[in-house]
């Protein structure tokens, strides 16, 4: 590896602008004549809209116009869509209710948008929004997903009786039930996975610009996948055809999944720009973000895990109710199905698995993918159950896991996934050594002398990244392919621009993607620019989520680099009158092996563009594109060990040690990988210890609408992490990479809860493990 090549700890190129305040985010964008949008939102969780009177608001200072859902409907703007079709086990398609960008008849959660005010300033728009009189007829409310399925509950959508969206299954029910009936031991657990608010540092924003001269739209927006936004807005929302719609996602300050989806606001800003004739910008405030950003998780599950007399798992049966909120968000249907149940085998050889998942409408914000998306839910369920089973069986948690580890690859699980590579003993051993597992008993005794309860817990996670083989996901209901594109442009002086369909919103692509080029051609990364996030610059792409940019986005870059290299070799061979097969590329030069002949990289590039002396028949220029469609998912895995001290008097938990031993395959930039792990751990620990969205069950009001009530993790909630990696390269992509963006958030919650329950001697504890819950559980255990 070179100083800037693959495997180097290169400082992030993009950080200079972020750290010096020079980042350019959607809200920083300003265009002549721009006006400001403020949305009128429902204060009710469920109500009929009887009338909207905007006459007074329209007369207020600075107001350009007030637009409502009836006008939006009249202009033919389509319903928001869900892009993954799931069929219930009876064969019927999922029952999707209509989601209007501006509700025109019924509002279904607190924050549902009903109208938009466009005014000269944000303050004037807010003043006018308060003056819009909406007459509501309040309806009964249901927020609890299990309750919503019962008879006689409020009905959200006529399409979905009893609020049931689909009743789906995966695996072999009969074989699973038979194995449970014949088991030597069955561990039964009820698992709750708490609802989370994404809380990206940059709130969502959109700037819609309609140019009547060209009949063309531009949308700046906080998106993780601007091309998908353009596709969906063109194909389904009827905003404009693709060739007349440019979507730009400039610097984006964190997504965590919540910025995958196309929300009502960007559609409305584009539509309102055409209606009013002025560019329209909207920037979310934090309370709006709590109300309207798609939430994550919110599962209720029951689990049965069966063991034979030698403690081998013989079956796993899972029944899950997943709360999807008031409307089906863009990928909401695949999260609790194909991103969840397919991971229920974990790192274990389980002969029979059956999962049943019911998804439910409730009067709450839509729920969709959030860092990990389905895999954290699967991992939490499985690793909590394994820990409880080990306690019931009288085995150490490591021993029970070792008895059941998969050790030969490829391994076909009973739930679709085919694991390609892994070494679960390696990460377990590394984590136990780093955690000084054997020294725990002494540390526990020492803590006891201080009156503290010390506990240790582990979690052995596996996840699936590298979304995804297009034909495979298509056969499972996906509405899109999940390949990625890249184009490598070598300029006439040898500098290089890489257009990628991946989108960086904190991942550091401008550095890691450039490292690939530096490694390939020996050019400095400063001569490489990564271009992303603009549909006018990059032809097509599927964006960044599911830890896919390394495994899929970079693989597309590699394919394009292969083509560039092939042509560069031909040119160099021609210039030096050598055989193409003798050309080696290193340190920014193309050399003839075994001679002192060489051509600098820039000179080869110049030759490609002057075209004075190219091989006969060769086209001038040096620019190549590629699409890469993965042949399989990738399977990062690892072992996390958490050690805690619980103050039995207050229930306060202190994390005294957290060890993460991950296998991400090959690493492009270990420093960035560590940063991703740290961030993921912070979010996973946040879920386990602090975070939780709460609605009032009586009226559907959001109780956690600010940081006064929604507890985000802070630096002093976290220990210094001990992170390490082992490496089984992924055999299915050219770089051997797996993906590291979500692992921390996937693997950490069960390790932490396993540690706390170990400390207090009571398995009955739900996330977030607030001091009060831990205190109560510790006292109940006595």
């Amino acid at each position: 590896m070179g100083a800037e090549g693959i495997g180097a700890r290169v400082a992030r190129k993009e950080d200079k602008r972020f750290l010096t305040g020079k980042g350019r985010y959607t809200d920083d964008m300003s265009v002549p004549g721009m006006k400001y949008a403020v949305f009128v939102r429902s204060p009710h969780a469920h109500a009929k809209i009887k009338s909207i009177d905007a006459a007074a608001a329209k007369g207020m200072p600075g107001v350009i116009d007030v637009l409502d859902g009836k006008q939006l409907t009249a202009d033919g703007i389509g319903n928001l869509i869900c892009g993954w079709m799931i069929h219930s086990k009876d064969g019927s398609p999922m029952k999707m209710g209509a989601w209007r960008p501006l509700a025109d008849q019924t509002v279904r959660y607190v924050g549902d948008a009903v109208a938009v005010v466009v005014a000269d300033s944000v303050n004037e728009a807010r003043d006018a929004a308060e003056a819009v009189v909406v007459d509501y007829d309040a309806l009964p409310v249901v927020t609890d997903p299990a309750k919503a399925l019962a008879d006689g509950q409020p009905q959200l959508h006529p399409e979905a009786p009893n609020n049931l969206i689909f009743d789906w299954q995966l695996g072999d029910a009969a074989a699973t039930d038979a194995a449970i009936a014949a088991a030597a031991h069955v561990t039964e657990v009820k698992i709750l996975n708490n609802r989370l608010s994404p809380n990206a540092m940059e709130p969502r924003a959109a700037l819609g610009i309609y140019d009547s001269g060209d009949d063309r739209y531009t949308c700046y927006t906080t998106s993780q996948n601007p091309h998908v936004a353009r596709l969906v807005m063109s194909a389904f929302y009827n905003v404009a055809p693709e060739n007349k719609l440019r979507v730009i996602a400039p610097d984006v300050g964190g997504g965590f999944g919540s910025k995958i989806y196309i929300y009502p606001e960007e559609i409305v800003c584009l539509w309102a720009s055409k209606r009013t004739g002025v560019p329209v910008k909207w920037t979310c405030d934090r309370t709006e973000a709590f109300m309207t950003d798609a939430h994550g998780r919110d599962h209720v599950s029951t689990v049965k895990m069966a063991f034979d007399s030698s403690n081998k798992i013989t079956a796993l049966k899972v029944d899950t109710i997943a709360n999807l909120g008031a409307y089906m968000s863009l990928f909401s249907s695949c999260v609790p199905t194909y991103l969840y149940a397919t991971l229920l085998s974990g790192q274990y050889d389980i002969p029979a698995i059956h999962a049943n998942v019911r998804t439910v409408y409730t009067n709450t914000a839509p729920v969709d993918a959030y860092r990990g998306a389905g895999r954290p839910e699967a991992t939490y369920l499985l690793e909590r159950t394994m820990e409880i089973a080990a306690r019931e069986l009288g085995l150490s948690p490591a021993e029970l896991r070792r008895i059941n580890f998969i050790r030969s690859f490829p391994h076909q699980t009973p739930v679709i996934m085919n694991y390609d590579a892994g070494d679960y003993d390696a990460s377990l051993n590394a984590a136990m050594a780093a955690a000084d597992w054997d020294g725990f008993a002494a540390r526990k005794a020492e803590a006891e002398r201080r009156g503290m309860k010390r506990g240790i817990g582990m979690s052995c996670y596996i996840e699936a990244c590298g979304l995804a083989p297009s034909s495979a996901v298509g056969s499972l209901g996906a509405g899109v392919g999940l390949w990625e594109s890249a184009e490598v442009r070598v300029n006439a002086v040898g500098t290089i621009e890489v257009m990628t369909g991946s989108h960086s919103h904190g991942q550091g692509h401008e550095t890691t993607f450039a490292q690939l080029v530096a490694a390939r051609f020996g050019v400095p990364i400063d001569s490489v620019n990564i271009v992303h996030g603009d549909t006018d610059k990059v032809q097509m792409g599927m964006g960044t989520y599911g830890s896919r940019s390394g495994a899929v986005g970079m693989s597309a870059v590699v394919k394009a680099l292969d083509k560039v290299e092939a042509k560069a070799r031909k040119i160099a061979a021609h210039l030096m009158e050598a055989d193409e097969s003798d050309i080696v590329i290193e340190n920014g030069e193309l050399k003839v092996a075994g001679t002192d002949k060489s051509v600098p990289w820039f000179q080869m590039a110049l030759a490609a563009y002057t075209a004075h002396n190219l091989p006969t028949g060769m086209e001038p220029g040096l620019k190549e594109g590629a699409f890469y469609d993965p042949s399989n998912f990738t399977f990062p895995a690892g072992c996390y060990i958490c050690e805690v001290e619980v103050d039995p008097e207050t229930g306060q938990t202190e994390i005294v040690q957290f060890v993460a031993a991950d296998d991400f395959g090959n690493l492009i930039n270990p420093m960035i990988v560590e940063g991703q792990v740290h961030g993921g751990l912070a979010q996973g620990i946040g879920q386990a210890l602090l975070e939780g969205v709460h609605y009032d069950p009586e009226n559907g009001q959001l109780l956690t609408a600010s940081y006064m009530d929604y507890a985000m993790p802070r630096a002093d909630n976290l220990p210094s992490f001990k992170v390490s990696t082992s490496n089984t390269p992924c055999p299915n992509n050219p770089l051997g990479v797996k993906g590291c963006g979500e692992a921390g958030a996937i693997g950490s919650p069960p390790a932490l809860i396993n540690a706390i329950t170990d400390a207090i001697g009571n398995n009955a504890l739900t996330m977030p493990a607030t001091p009060e819950k831990v205190w109560a559980a510790a006292h109940a255990a006595k």
Partner: protein, 265 residues
């Protein structure tokens, strides 16, 4: 935020005059609650009269064990005052744990007391220290000052100019923070005077705001020791219950924080 008029008086007299002439004026101290409330459009004062630039309201003076803290003194100034630390380190420690550095550099003791947030720290100290709240027109005993949630004995237009108290022989404050806001879910300020008088004041937990716990005071007057707290019962029926903590849990926290405060004093 709605539009408002901003005034910066140089004297208490001028401030009182300005507020008298405003339609719906509000005094602005550190603004740590008021500005946030205004930004959320939950408050709409016609005029803000800023008290932070009035020299007579600033500064800390210690004479023997007699302490005077100007109402516009920031939390950071209280936390870092060496002369105050020499006679009553407990109040410095309390101030050093309010909010975050931004809040401590903006927020003031007078603003905190006048706002009387049921989870604020200073009211517990005032009550336990038997402090006197000095205003532009009178002196009010802390025991009479805090009248309910966000309510005080202040009249319209009245300004807190200083607080005074005699530093006790022993004092300490212990709080258990709300995991989200980090305001006190239960904060207990204990004081023991040379004459054996004990005060135990509790913030963050009472459904009517800050209060003294007579049972704790009696137990500790008899035996100034953490062990004395063990058998005192805390009635949960008058305590707050919310998303973060039940009344029963707060009752437990009051005992634990009292015990720890006594140990720390």
């Amino acid at each position: 935020m709605y539009e408002t008029n901003y005034h910066r008086p140089a004297s208490v007299q001028e401030a009182v005059k300005l507020i008298g002439g405003a339609a719906e004026g509000k005094y602005l101290a550190g603004g740590m609650t008021l500005i946030a409330t205004m930004k959320q459009r939950l408050a709409a004062p016609s005029d803000l009269v800023d008290l932070r630039h009035i020299a007579e309201m600033k500064g800390i003076t210690v004479n023997g064990r007699s302490v005077r803290i100007g109402a516009a003194t920031t939390h950071r100034e209280v936390a870092s005052s060496a002369e105050l630390g020499a006679v009553c380190p407990a109040i410095c420690a309390l101030a050093s744990h309010i909010g975050d550095p931004h809040v401590r550099n903006m927020g003031t003791i007078g603003g905190s007391i006048a706002n009387n947030d049921p989870a604020a720290d200073y009211p517990a100290a005032m009550l336990a220290l038997d402090a006197t709240i000095v205003t532009n027109s009178r002196e009010i005993a802390a025991a009479d000052f805090f009248t309910g949630l966000f309510e005080t004995a202040l009249d319209d237009g009245e300004i807190i100019t200083a607080i005074t108290f005699d530093a006790p022989a022993k004092a300490a404050y212990q709080k258990f923070p709300n995991p989200a806001s980090r305001y006190a879910m239960a904060g207990v300020f204990v004081v023991r005077r040379d004459n054996g008088d004990v005060r135990v004041a509790v913030t963050g937990a009472g459904s009517s705001g800050v209060f003294r716990h007579q049972g704790m005071e009696a137990a500790l007057a008899g035996n100034w020791s953490p062990d004395a707290v063990g058998n005192v019962s805390v009635d949960a029926s008058d305590l707050l219950a919310d998303l973060h903590a039940s009344a029963a849990y707060r009752a437990n926290l009051i005992k634990v924080m009292t015990k720890r405060a006594v140990a720390a004093a």
